[in-house]
Symmetry: C2
Subunit: 136 residues, 2 copies
């Protein structure tokens, strides 16, 4: 997807205009496997999917640290967050900003109607967008 | 430190107006110890200090994941980032925004002239400030 510049400050971009691709991991893998994937992709958020590629959870490097701190470095399932806050491609960007703030989280997986993962929007990415908008 | 509301959009707040307290860890501790501290404080960035409380590195949950992925879960020193990007209390907030963006990092320790850690500013904290400013 292309990132539209925020020329008209009135025009609110949609999630599909600002989301980026994201790697996923299948449930059943280990915390160690998740850590390797997080490091390889230099990315902090790893959506967890089932056999049908539907979103079932999310794992961040914070959860990996928690697993290490609690010496629970086996299966991914007990340490992943199951209640994932998500957005749809057609949602406006300001909804994502509000959700990130309200739930005090740093990224939102973008899913379709079948809960298939299409991408991700991060607080980092959104603040870049906002600061670019402010500078114009 | 108190957080000044951004009433006049012209007036650029300083780092000291927006920084928050941060826990630190002494160099010599283990990755496991760092993971526990990161989880207890529900904070992602842990400045690493020497005996004189001077900043010598930074560890995030990302580095902990890296330690796990590389099976290097002993001493903290080999996995911490030594070249820490920092700000001073008197720096303007927009410098922090630019540094976070330029170096693709999510927080900046605030240090004094002796490299003693005074607090931290995070991308998350700054975007909240910016979005509050936009809404007024
Ligand atoms: C390049 S970022 C990638 C992940 C994510 N974007 C983030 O900021 O955590 C992760 C690395 O940045 C390092 N880091 C975090 N804050 C830093 C700072 N203020 N100065 C230098 N390195 C920093 C961490 O130690 C970690 O190795």
């Amino acid at each position: 997807g292309s990132t539209k510049p925020m020329k008209q400050t009135q025009e609110m971009p949609l999630i599909k205009d600002v989301m980026v691709p994201v790697a996923t991991i299948k449930v059943g893998f280990s915390v160690y496997e998740a850590a390797k994937k997080i490091i390889e992709d230099r990315f902090n958020h790893l959506p967890v999917v089932d056999e049908d590629k539907r979103l079932v959870g999310i794992v961040t490097s914070w959860d990996v640290s928690k697993a290490l701190a609690l010496s629970k470095d086996g299966d991914l399932a007990p340490i992943m967050t199951r209640n994932v806050i998500t957005v749809s491609p057609e949602d406006p960007v300001d909804l994502a900003v509000r959700l990130l703030e309200k739930h005090n989280i740093s990224a939102l997986p973008v899913i379709d109607k079948d809960r298939k993962v299409l991408g991700i929007v991060t607080g980092e990415g959104l603040s870049k967008l906002i600061s670019r908008g402010l500078r114009q």
